[in-house]
């Protein structure tokens, strides 16, 4: 167990010595984005524990090093859940034998299938405490559900990958977990037709909370979908049991597609956990992995365009999230960049050997005027450049 003050002291030492720090929780995401060159590592893993959980106020607050499964278990005991359904990407990023932490999932703003309807991690971060590169503890937000007091540094720190501050405590909005889950499975639609079906479902009044399309080989990797065959379009409803039945029924009538099947709560939960954790992605041991975020209707085009480069993938978020795996070389990365850019979207290089991720833009470079502001904000929060230098952008 360590204290927030000891993190502050470590940062203060590093500032004084001008020695960069690698910031991490349990390091489950150290393979993401660019490699960090730092003499020392600062881990928040020892700063662990739930500080406040008020189910009636839909609020939970915990130290950054708290294992995410511990938080999920505490919520489940009160019938609640994390709204953004954050994934566990250890099957892609390598098992460290340790669980991901609350701080890590916040700093990387990773969200699961429910993001399409209910928002990302960043939408539910109500408060943060962080140690900045000025060696100061700052707070933003708080422990209430609505707060516009001052600049929203919760959003700035969420998804900043430890480059602006060491997040020490996170306060999240949570919600009651749904009673029941159902999934409508539409077999046989290609990516474009599947995405059109997902758009119709998401544009229906039935509150769809998951919308994914899996090509045949990806579907075959999900045990809960074994034996159905063909590419599969998945539509999820989460609600009270009678509502799930009713809404799935209405959607099924709407499509009137032969061969449509429905999955019950247990089957649905297992299938969507696999989708969340990118299990359908056939990433070979040496493959690179990307997440591309585009307007949903552009998802199929990105997927198809990149097949020529030897990538495989599947679609979540109604087509708007393209998971890709393929050769870990600059040519393939350039193809991913081009496809994302052509679709007006963005890419994140999630996994690659250091040689590749150190050499390419792991996220899109910003236009010059924005990049200038980015450097100024980084200088405002981490003037010595000691927090995770180079993690997002080279030289920053």
């Amino acid at each position: 167990m360590i204290s927030e003050d000891s993190i502050l002291a470590t940062v203060a030492d590093a500032v004084r010595a001008r020695e960069p720090l690698l910031i991490q929780g349990n390091g489950t995401k150290s393979g993401m984005l660019r490699p960090v060159q730092a003499a020392r590592t600062l881990s928040t893993a020892g700063l662990s524990g739930i500080n406040l959980y008020a189910p009636k106020e839909l609020i939970i607050s915990a130290w950054a090093g708290t294992p995410l499964p511990e938080i999920e278990a505490a919520l489940a005991a009160s019938g609640q859940h994390l709204i953004a359904e954050p994934p566990d990407l250890s099957s892609l990023l390598g098992k460290t034998g340790k669980p991901q932490t609350l701080g890590g999932i916040t700093a990387s703003n990773l969200s699961g299938p429910r993001r399409v309807a209910w928002g990302a991690m960043r939408d539910h971060v109500m408060g943060v405490r962080a140690v900045t590169g000025r060696a100061e503890i700052i707070r933003s937000g708080g422990r209430v559900l609505k707060n516009v007091t001052g600049l929203d540094l919760c959003k700035l720190l969420t998804g900043s990958y430890g480059t602006l501050g060491v997040i020490t405590e996170v306060t999240l909005k949570v919600l009651p977990a749904p009673d029941a889950t159902g999934t409508l499975v539409l077999p046989g639609l290609d990516a474009a037709a599947g995405t059109a079906a997902l758009s119709a479902a998401l544009g229906s009044p039935f509150g769809v909370s998951g919308a994914a399309w899996l090509p045949q080989d990806a579907a075959a990797r999900v045990p809960g979908l074994a034996g159905i065959g063909g590419p599969l379009t998945l539509i999820r409803i989460e609600d009270f049991a009678p509502s799930v039945l009713y809404r799935i029924g209405r959607l099924k009538d709407q499509y009137a597609l032969p061969g449509a099947i429905t999955l019950d709560t247990a089957q649905s939960r297992s299938v969507w956990a696999d989708v969340r954790d990118a299990k359908p992605l056939a990433a070979g041991a040496d493959d690179a992995v990307w997440r591309v975020s585009v307007r949903p209707s552009a998802g199929p085009g990105v997927l198809n365009a990149l097949r020529a480069s030897g990538t495989v993938g599947f679609l979540d978020w109604g087509g708007g999230l393209v998971w890709l795996a393929g050769p870990a070389d600059t040519a393939t990365h350039a193809a991913v960049e081009a496809a994302a850019r052509a679709a007006g979207g963005v890419w994140t290089l999630l996994r690659a050997p250091d040689t590749l991720r150190g050499a390419v833009s792991v996220v899109p470079d910003e236009a010059a005027p924005m990049a200038r502001i980015t450097r100024a904000v980084k200088a405002a929060m981490d003037p010595g450049g000691i927090l995770n230098p180079g993690r997002l952008y080279a030289g920053l």
């Binding site: 009636k56 839909l58 019938g79 703003n109 969200s111 960043r122 939408d123 700052i138 707070r139 933003s140 708080g142 209430v144 559900l145 609505k146 707060n147 516009v148 007091t149 001052g150 600049l151 929203d152 540094l153 919760c154 959003k155 700035l156 969420t158 900043s160 602006l164 009651p176 059109a196 758009s199 998401l202 544009g203 229906s204 009044p205 009270f240 009678p242 509502s243 009713y246 975020s293 585009v294 307007r295 949903p296 209707s297 978020w317 708007g320 999230l321 007006g344 979207g345 963005v346 899109p364 910003e366 236009a367 005027p369 924005m370 502001i373 980015t374 100024a376 904000v377 405002a380 929060m381």
Partner: protein, 483 residues
Amino acid sequence: MIRQPGSKPEVMGRRIHILAGLRALLPETGLITEPNLLKPYETDGLSAYRQVPLAVALPETTEQVAAVLKYCHQNGVRVVPRGAGTSLSGGALPMEDSVVVGMMRMNQILDIDYPDRCAVVQAGVTNIGITNAVSENGFFYAPDPSSQLACMIGGNVNMNSGGAHCLKYGVTANNLLGLKIVTIDGDIIDIGGAHLDAAGYDWLGLLTGSEGMLAIVTEVTVRILRGPEGARAMLAAFGSNEIAGAAVDAIISSGIIPVALEFMDRPAIHACEAFAHAGYPLDAEAMLIIEVEGSAEEQDRLLGQLSAICQRFDPLSLKVSQSPEESLAIWKGRKGAFGAVGRISPDYLCMDGTIPTSQLPHVLRRIQEMSDSYGLKVANIFHAGDGNLHPLIMFDANDPSSFHKAEEFGADILKLCVEVGGCLTGEHGVGVEKRDLMQVQFHAHELQQQREIKSAFDPDWLLNPSKVFPLLEPEAAGLPQAA
């Protein structure tokens, strides 16, 4: 009384020259300088404060906004962005030496994309204008501030406005995908787009709620949602604020999250009923408006469960709306609440703190005590599900001491909100109104950190300075704030 920074002599001295320079950048009617025409811009929804600006620029394109900002930057002129001017915290209050950039002429809907469930609109489109543009296809834009007929999306973005339905649908920040902004240098930058997750830093999140201090927003990409099959409201009346508060707790604990869960105390009930004739229970001490969505059967089931929960708290009455008209009347009372209070007392201050919901009975008791000791009446309206309080403090503007007391009373309420674990503002923003209370919620170094982030966007402190942060001495003297 709120202190404003001193005017810059070099700007006031070159006034004629500066106005001529601006006029050259704008369409023929795009610059207002005549004192009588400037008058409407001297204040916003916080009408106790007034200051006529140097001029009002009314650009019609992003490029014109860029030209105006670049010019103001080169000439050291302060800029106050303005939407509809409904801010309740004085966010759009001009300074004497400032140019107001009004966005009302940028009022076009540029694109509606149903398959991708988003729309691109200019910053001067009204909040309701977005919903009106997509409602024929059953879609809507979710955040619904009570001012939605007038307020503009650019203002909503900069205040991160909420509404009665944000318990389910979230606030403005949760319903945005992208922005086009113009920096004080005159650079035009696209942030986000039609995709859900941007890579890199969350500039969209930082700009949302930044109260016009970082950039001018000219276009907004919003999420549009398909409306539910139907919605229905119910009213539950209780014998005390405590009991109503306990009922709110019980509802949230049941696992049902209504789309709206609004609380009114006795004075608010009476004011709104006199205005809307919605059948509000006049014998009640506190009342909840609860709304659910779904098919008719789903509504029946949820309202049945909610009624059963309310029954456990000895309600004075429970009334489930039987028709869309009845639901509309119920909401008319709530949405017209400010106007309704305005009929009892022409002058009132609308406060906007947030508290942990468990503190509701305690906070309402303390507010009543303060009301007694200040001798000013207060009506409480409250987004109960998320703890966002709106005490309306009634005063008499003809009596300066009454206004002064109302301001002190308001400050005491907000300090109480912070003391019980809440915050100064849930959705109306800090503006000038709560600027000097920021030290109650933040440490000096935390405010300094936020100032430095503003400086990263606006090094010379020209964009809506003197808002949000307590004035530092150099700024009060009219100099840029040292970073």
